[in-house]
Structure formats: C-alpha cells, structure tokens
Subunit: 355 residues, 4 copies
C-alpha cells in the first residue's frame, strides 16, 4: 500500500493500531517559527476523546500527546514534527473471543482479503482510533490557519430525521451532540440514548463552514480544492458521502437558480448567493466554504447479528466492548482536522505561484 | 500549482485550454504488451463528443485522437503514452465581447484571483473541454480493467425531479440522455428541451456501478478506494457531491439496518445486502461498487444575468455560444473514465503487496 | 513504471520515442505572468541540436518547438505548459537491420527484460533524443531563475586526459566542445576527430557552476539540494557519476582542510573557501554551487563489436547511423537544464516556509 | 519543506533531532506476512552504533528500537511500521557554550538561513544521528531483499591515500574500519588513530556491491535505478559524490573499451565485462551493481577553527564532545540501508508492470 501519507507540502504520515503500543503521526512541511505547545494539541484531542458524555463510548483513553521532534523552545523549527499518543486502557481480551468472526459493517473481511493477515484486536488499523492522529495533526494545521484568520466550524447537522434548524454556532460545544440548535440537540440526544438502549447505532450528517478562506486556493484540474477536501473527508472511516454548497440538490436546480451572481461591495467582488459553497472551478471564491459529510451508523452494535467465521462457518456476532451509539459528536473534530490539513496544504502551495 | 497529474502508478498528466491549439494527456505507468488502437480511444471520445443529439451542444468538434508515443506496432511498450486532440471549430470570437465579464457560475473570477491572469477564450483551462483528456486516458484504463473482467457502467439517474426507476442497463446508449429507464429517459429529454427553450440549464445525478471488481483494492488510511474515487470524481468540473452505497441516506439508518451481514455461498463470502456500496473500510469488498455524483446545471446559459466586469462595473452577461442545457449525458463517459483511472491505479498498487 | 515525471511543485512530465511522431513535455507548476516566447525555448534547443559542428552527429533534426498550452498572449497563465517537438529526418531504416541485435552499451537488453517488448528504432525511449524534452523544460526553468538572478553555466571540463586549465567562461560557446579553455578546447576537438576516425567514441567530464543561488534551498533530510541534483543529473542517460565541491577528493582530505571557515564581509557571512561546493547539510550556502558529471563514451560506435541477437545467437554489431563521437558538447545544455529544473523546484518549495 | 519521506511504494518517513526525546521512522508499503523481529532491526542498528571500537566516537547510545505498529505476532500486516529509538546519554550541555557559534563544515549557518531558527543541540536534525532511522528502515528492506536473494555488501574502499587492494569480503566485519583487505584495514586504522591524535578527521570512499539483483529494476527516464540510488546516497549527510561502475573513469575511456559485450552462457545473456556497474539505461542488467560513495572528513574536529558567531562576531570554535575521526566505518551500514530501501521500492514498482 503506502496510503498513510496525505498532502504535498503540508504532509502528514500516520501509523498505529488501536491495540498496539501507540498511535502516531509525523507532520512534515510545517513552516518554522510557529508557536505550538502540547496543550494546543491536547485541546483538540480532548474534543475527540471517548467518555465525554453518556452518549459516547465509556472507554477510558488518556489520549495524552507527546511531542517527539520538530518543536524547539516552544516554536516549530521547520523539521518534521513527530507526535505520539500511547494506547492505554484498551482491553484486548474483549476481542479475543471474536478474533475469528467477521463483524458485519467492519473491515475485518476486506483486510483479510487484501493483506492475508489482520490484527484482530479492535479493528487494528481500521479502528476509528486511528483518527486520533488526524486530530493531532489537525491541531497544528489549525494554528497555521489561525494566523491567516481562517476558521473552521463543524457540527452535527442531523441525526436520523432530526435536523438542526437554528444555527446558533456559539452553542455547539454546549451540548454533547455538538449541534448548533439547542432544541434539536436535545431531541438528538434522546434519539441516541434510545438507539443505545436498543443495542443499536444511528448515522447522521456533519456540516462544516470555513470562514475567512481567501480566494485562490486549490489546484485545478485534479487537485481542485473540493476534490482534495472530498479525498480528505472520504478517508475518514465512517464517511459515505461528501457534498459542497447545494450538494445533491443541484440535480433539481436550474442554471438561473444555481449560478451565483456578482456585485460590487465597495472594492470587493461579492455574490448575492453562495450556492456553490465557496468553491468554484475547484478554487476558493473567498465566500464561506460550506460542505456536508454523511456519517454512517457505527458498525459495532451489541445486538446479535448473523455472520460467519474466518473459516467460513455460520455464527452470530455479539460485539461486546464499549462503543459509540452515534459517532457524529466525536467525528466533528475529525472533520475539522481533515479540512484544516487540506486547507493548509492548499495555502502553502498557493505561495509557490505568488510573486 | 502542479495539480494536473492524477494517480501514483497509473499516472495521468493533462494539459491544454479549450481554445488553444490542442488538449493532451500523458499516461505513465501503463503495463507493456497491452493491445491498444486509436479506435479504442476514439470510441470513448465519440461518446463524450458534442453534437450527438439535439439536447447536447451543437458545437462541432472532431475530437480525433493522435497517439504520439508509448504504443509500438499496436502494443503498449511500458513507456509513457502521449495523446493529442487538436482543437477545431472553436469560435474564439464568441468570447471576445465577454472577455471582461465575470460569467456567473464560471471560474472566471477565481482564476483571475488565483493567477492574476486568465485565458478568457471559452474558459481556457477551466472549460469542460478539459475532460476530453480524461476520457482519452480512461479508454486506456478501461482496456486494462477489461483484461481483469472489471466493467464500469455509468448512467443518468436523475434530471431535476425525474428519476430512473427501471434499471434496464442494455438501453442506456439507446437514448440521448444515457438513462437506463426508457420511459424516464423520454421525460428527461422533454425536460431538457423545455429548459433549453427557456435559455436555461438543469442539473442531475449520475450513478455508476462497477461489476467484477475484486476484493482488496484501496490503500487505507488516506488512499482508501472511496477517498480516491471521491477525489477523482469531485475533480470533474460540474460535480458538487459524491456518495457511495446508501450515501447520504445513512444519516437516517440504524446500524442494524446498514451493516451488511455475511453468509457463505459455496466457497465464497457474500453479503445479503450491499448498503456499503462495494467498499468497506476503504477497500473493495468484491460486491458491486455503487456510487452517485451530483451534477450541477451548466453555468453557461444564454438568458441575461446580472454580473460585473473585471474592472468592477455592473453589467449583464448574455452568454452566446452553443452550450449543453444539461451536461449529464456527456458527463457519463467522463465519470466512467475517472472511475477507470482510479481503479487501475489501485489494481496496480495492489500488485505490490501480493506474494 | 511511472518514472517520467520529475519535481514536486515545478513538475515536468516527458514522453516520446526517438523514432515516433514526436517528443513532448508538460511543465506544471510554472508561476503565472512569466513572459515566455517560443524563441526562448528554441534558443536552448538549438544549443542541443545535432549537426552544430563536424564533431557532433551529422543528423538533421529541426527540433522546432510548438507551444500547445499554458501561455496566453506571451505570458504564462499558471496552467500546464505543453511543448511538442516533432521528429523529423529520422531514418528508421537504419535500424531495421539491427532490430534483433543487442547493441553493446545500449539499453536494448534491459528494456526487453523489463518490459518484454521494445521499440527498436534508434533506442526508442532510451535514446538520447529524449533529452530534447529536458532542454525545452529547462528553458522555462531558466527564465524563472533569471528573474532571481540565478545563472547556470556548464561546460566541458575534460575529454579523455585533456583538462581545461584556464577558466575563460566567456569563450565557452566559441568552440564546438564548449570548453572554457580555448587551448584545451583545440586539443579536445582534435582528440574527438581522431576518435571518430577510428570509428570509436570517448567520454568526458562536464562541470557546472551556479552563480547567484540564495542560501536556504533544499529540503533535508531526503530532498537535500545535492540529493535532488544528483537524482536529476544521474537520470541523464550518459551520466556515470556526480560529485559536488571537492567531490571524490574529499576522501583524501582532513577535516581541518575541508571545513570552510566563516568570516564577516560587511554584513554578509562568507567562507574563505568553498570546498563544499555551495551546498552544506543539503542546503545551498549562498556561495557558488559547483558540481561535476562523468559522461561515458557514446555507446553507438561503428566499429564491429561482438554481441548476440535477441534470440541468443552470436553476431557482430556494426552500428550504422550518424552518432556523436563524444556527447559532452551536446550534453552541456542538458546538464544545465536538469540543474535549472531542480533549482526552480527548490526555490518554489522554499516559498512555502517563508513568512 | 516536506523532504522527510523517501520512496514511492516502499516509503519511509523519518523524524527526530539528535538531542530531542527520540528518533523515529515510519515505513509504509511493506508487504504483509513478512517475518520481522526487533532483533532483525537491532542487529543493523548495532552495526551503526557509536562506541564499537577506539576509532569511533566514544559516545554511549543504547539505540534500542521499539516497534510501535505494523507488526502483529511477528509478522508484518501491510500497515505502516512505526519504529522509535529513544535518545539516551546525550550531553546537551556540551553544546550550550557553542550555541551561538557557526561551526565550520556544519549545517548551522544554512539551517539558520533557511528556517530562521535552529535546534543548536548537536546539530539537531542535521546531525548524523538522523541516520539511525535510515538503518532501522533499511533492516526491514533487507529482509524483503533476502527473500529475493538480493544481497548488499558495503565496505570501506579507501581512507585518505590507503586503498583496499584485496577483496576478501568475508573479513569486512572483522576489522573496525569495515575494509575487505585486512592489510589495508590495519593501515587505515593507524591512519585514523593518527588523525584523531591531531584533533583532526579524515575522509574516505565506501564501495558497495549488490549481488543477485534481477534485471529489469528502475523506471526511466527520471526514476532510473542509478538516479534513485544517487538521490538516496547523496541524501546521507557526509556524501560528496556517487559513481557507478567505472564512474568518473569513463571520462578517459573509449566506447570500444567501455561497452560491455554480450555472450550467451547456457540460456543466460551475460557480458564479458561490467564497466557499467550493473545498471544500463537506468535499469538493472542482472550483473552485480557496483557503486562508490565519497565520504567527507567529519566536520566536528576539536582543534581550534576560525569562525564567527550568529551575531557576526569573529571567534574560534573548539568543538568538544565525542566525535568520529572518520565516519566511514559507521557509514557503511547507512550506505547499505539506503541502497536496500531504494532497491525494494524499485522491486515493488516492477511488480506493477508484470503480467
């Protein structure tokens, strides 16, 4: 393979299995003289951490980041930043009894087909735990974006049939679902608890808005900004779809409705609408970038499911362990991280063509 | 930039503007001893060509491919294949009068912001004409996939509110919309004609199915097969969303509904359902790959639209020229091409880890 | 394979065989608004062209460049530049009779082993003709370097035992050997003529000096500037060695001799010596970059050589055709081109870490 | 930057400073089901370790490798292998007093110019300690090569004027210089001790031979096997030149002398000579690969050297600490590692074009 690096200039390389000694990430191409502390990274890791509320997994993971390189006396030096998060509190024993079972909705079968071997402890590399590396790298990307006054905000837009209607962004972190509509958040929380009681899980939609992204980022024709973002976001394990601006609704729109018309506001070019979601022709327009990600229901559910063993016998899987009935709340910082990583790479690449 | 290459092993590099002398593509990494003729490539180019019916643009483009390298006595040699398609019959004059106008829905503004200069003739590099290079490269990718009995089928699933309901794949190429449901196709055709009469355009959804893809393709964690496909498909100019299997519907599903359960069929591992769309954990499962692409309404419409000039004056754009009222029919072979290119790259990469 | 691209930001992709329709190169990542004309490129191609003197091959090749994309109204647009050089005046018939012969010193055998097929006409992709694409791309790289007042000068340092002793750079283009020492040039010319008369060929050393390269280029630890230059230069078909500064002589030096000591000249940091050749720790020091390339004797010689046929029979190769008795004079612009391409890429990458 | 990854399929990413908490390397693209133990890696690390004899540095570094991922129950899983080597026994205090001094022959100045900041403790990222990551990754590459019966042997060919004349490869590891000629080894050892006594250092030449490399590896025209090897080897800090086969001697050879003539040995194609060093046209020929690397004298010497401070004042550097008077003995395993890494990548890439 060799699919564990992402980015061209700002390039991350991740490693580690859910039940091995550690997860880690190397971030190369970080400009020097950027102030970064372990707590900057820890802040984001804590947002992703299990056990934040009763609607997330009750696993205990310290998720404490260690900085191994690339930062000297509080500042980046331009050399690669190595970050390490030790695995703690994992219960490999939970997985011993299902080591020969192909869990429905999981990657057990395909890893076996692809590699002829798999680390069966908790999904190994295919575990959602892998995203801890993304969030750690994303924290550094966000520091760079902050310098440029670019701000990323992701949140739960929908869980099942419940959609956020009011967009009160200030309240996102005030509820365990990370939803900007406090009333919808309440309903979502109840829904997730109900699903959990039924030993089941549920999907949702995460929306993200990027404020302050300058016009000009993205590299047509193959590395368009939306193409790179789609790549980044689809690489998150639970994603089944990505859309920008009007997204799939464009199929029902006329050109006269969908085209964003220009006007002049002082000395700025603006558009009356933002149907395109802040990216046109694969390049950022300067308006807010708006995208949505479809998140599938967690594969791990404890109710019995019909399946087979690795040696082809019929069996029933009952997945013990402590799993998220809905991964959306914890996927929000992961979505933000992947957007941040992609934007920084585009931002740094754009410097190469500027006078 | 440098965003004009795609792929790691099977790597394509494209160049050319809509109104320059030619479009071209270099395909590197093609295995040797593959039989390829110009007519293999021409066949696919003709499917994309303008003027195929009254619901596509009436522009005349010969789109004749020239093979410049990499094929010797009818076979690939392992060296890079250079393909050239001369631009013919373009009317640059059509664009002279709008050279200073920022066309709504187009990339005029962002190219100017990004590069400080733009080729205003017909969109230049941002023109849909760029996709001719993708289709040419895709034709070669399809030849390789054919050897492995992998078959890609894309078609128009929806135009506006009209959805294909019957999936009679054999009829796809029998109607100008490339829809597998002849009745829906008729309605779609009428809808497009109506829209065209109103000097407007309309969007749609293209669906694609890959039959025969073996299990094991895709390189987690960042180069998952769905992530690479999303990258490839989002890089097509008119795409606003990509989804796999249940796609955005997963937001409403429970884990117990969405998980595909395994059973044994003879010596084969199968699943009762294919909600995941043939890719799990970023790796192909061996089931059909199913995906959908949201296609926006063509930006070029001839009805007057409010906009501004490059020097900031209010004006009205009336885009002359001959444009597609709906790009879906001609985008079908482009979607197939990008899928083919992505799959071949994954297929060749998979060889590197096999015993 | 897929080894026909070079560079990360300034990225070239080359294609074409010596006896196919054309050679070509796509140059991606060129900053916009750079003034480039066909004659800028033609100037460099003419320096590489056959038939410049009686000591080079007498083949006639027009080597006229066509610009296919990326340049609009005399300026680069930031989109990929496609360049095409049609093959003319090749005599494929010259090669018909040796199509089954493995020519000593050529790549015939290895191409057959690697690909299982080869284009036998004049070496196909392995022909020195491939370097025409490098020189064309290098011409564009040089334009960018000129803006930064970086200047590359390559020349023939040695042919056989004859070494340039006086370094009168102004005279380099005044003699057919491209040697900065007019007296040595005379002797070299006579040597080459003598070798040619004997149906033989001879090797040499090309030296290059880069003036004006700023300190700071190169990306440790793997993409050090000297590592990238070595990669670039060793990829030229006739190169057998590359060295920087004192080069292989360092094996005989003491640290106290080899270390360049610093002093202050006004507000500038300078070194008393430049043993390191302008690159330390893989990063340019700001002093002149100095390197040398070992060029092997042309493989094509017309005297009879013992060899075998592709079906394993003993035979004698007498290579007709018109070949260079010494490739150094024509390799000089190729060496310059590869240095230029490498430096521009490093220069543009360096922009990504600057404040 | 982002120059800390090397390879396309077998891709390594390294991080860490000499006086930070740890050095590390991520190895991606390793085929699954390969048996690897920590002791396989430790064996190679021990060959590179300081303090092996009185002619190497007397620093104490445990250099114990930890496997963090990618290996499960003794076998590779196809996921990235993370390796960590903690830094121990470093004396940062040694560097405190020279933190503002630009050490001649070191990268202090260029790091400061490039990044505007540097980790002054022992060279930071520019320290030779960085090669520990290369050797660890190389150990894994060697395991793969062993499966293919490819064997790499590097050794000290020359120190100063003393050259190995007898090639008794079995004795290489029997002397502290790693020289295949026991008599020359003795003289080399004495020379190094003399140099050390004079508070000086000395350079040398390392030669490497690869036995058993199959024909067909390498990807023209830019990723030729010799070009990639040159890149890999020049990226080692102390390298100032690389040559293949006859190397720089080709400048004095005639084509009739240098061309390797073919003959048939049973059903095998062989050459009477191997002037080309096992690589022709950038592709391995099946003969032994032979190359040489010029190693400069260690920059760190304890005799006083004239230099300046970072704020531009004249001073004298007396570099305390424990340094290698000649780095060749310890560079031998580093050279082997970089060759191994490059060959495995070429080997895996070659699989992609095979039927």
């Amino acid at each position: 393979m060799s699919g564990n690096s992402f980015g061209t200039i700002f390039k991350i390389t991740s490693f580690g299995e859910s039940h091995g000694p550690a997860l880690g990430v190397v971030i190369d191409g970080v400009p020097p003289l950027l102030e970064i502390s372990a707590s900057d990274i820890q802040f984001e890791l804590n947002r992703r951490k299990p056990g934040q509320s009763k609607i997330t997994t009750q696993r205990k993971e310290g998720d404490t980041v260690q900085i191994l390189s690339g930062i000297f006396e509080g500042k980046t030096t331009g050399t690669p930043i190595g970050l390490l998060i030790l695995n703690e509190g994992h219960r490999s024993a939970d997985y011993e009894e299902i080591k020969n079972i192909l869990r429905p909705g999981h990657a057990d079968f395909v890893y076996l087909k692809k590699y002829g071997i798999r680390d069966h402890r908790g999904g190994g590399r295919a575990s959602g735990r892998e995203t801890v590396a993304r969030v750690a790298a994303g924290a550094i990307a966000k520091k760079i974006l902050n310098q440029h006054k670019i701000n990323i905000l992701a949140y739960t837009l929908a869980i099942g049939d419940i959609y956020a209607k009011k967009m009160d962004y200030a309240t996102i972190e005030n509820n365990p679902v990370r939803c900007p509509d406090p009333q919808a958040a309440k309903l979502m929380e109840e829904k997730i608890e109900e699903v959990k009681k039924n030993q089941d899980s549920i999907g949702g939609i995460i929306e993200a808005i990027v404020h302050g992204c300058p016009a000009g980022l993205g590299d047509p024709v193959f590395d368009k900004l939306d193409a790179k973002l789609a790549h980044a976001l689809m690489s998150i394990g639970s994603t089944k779809g990505v859309e920008f601006g009007e997204g799939f609704k464009v199929s029902k729109l006329l050109g006269s409705q969908n085209n964003d018309k220009y006007y002049i506001d002082g000395d700025k070019v603006k558009t009356f609408s933002n149907h395109t979601g802040g990216i046109a022709g694969g390049i950022s327009t300067g308006e807010n970038i708006i995208l949505r990600v479809a998140i599938k229901p967690t594969a791990s559910i404890s109710q019995p499911q019909q399946t087979i063993t690795t040696d082809g016998k019929q069996t029933t899987a009952e997945i013990a362990g402590r799993h998220d009935p809905c991964i959306c709340p914890r996927a929000v910082p992961v979505v933000e991280a992947m957007i941040a990583i992609t934007l920084v790479d585009a931002l740094l690449q754009q410097k190469t063509i500027q006078q």
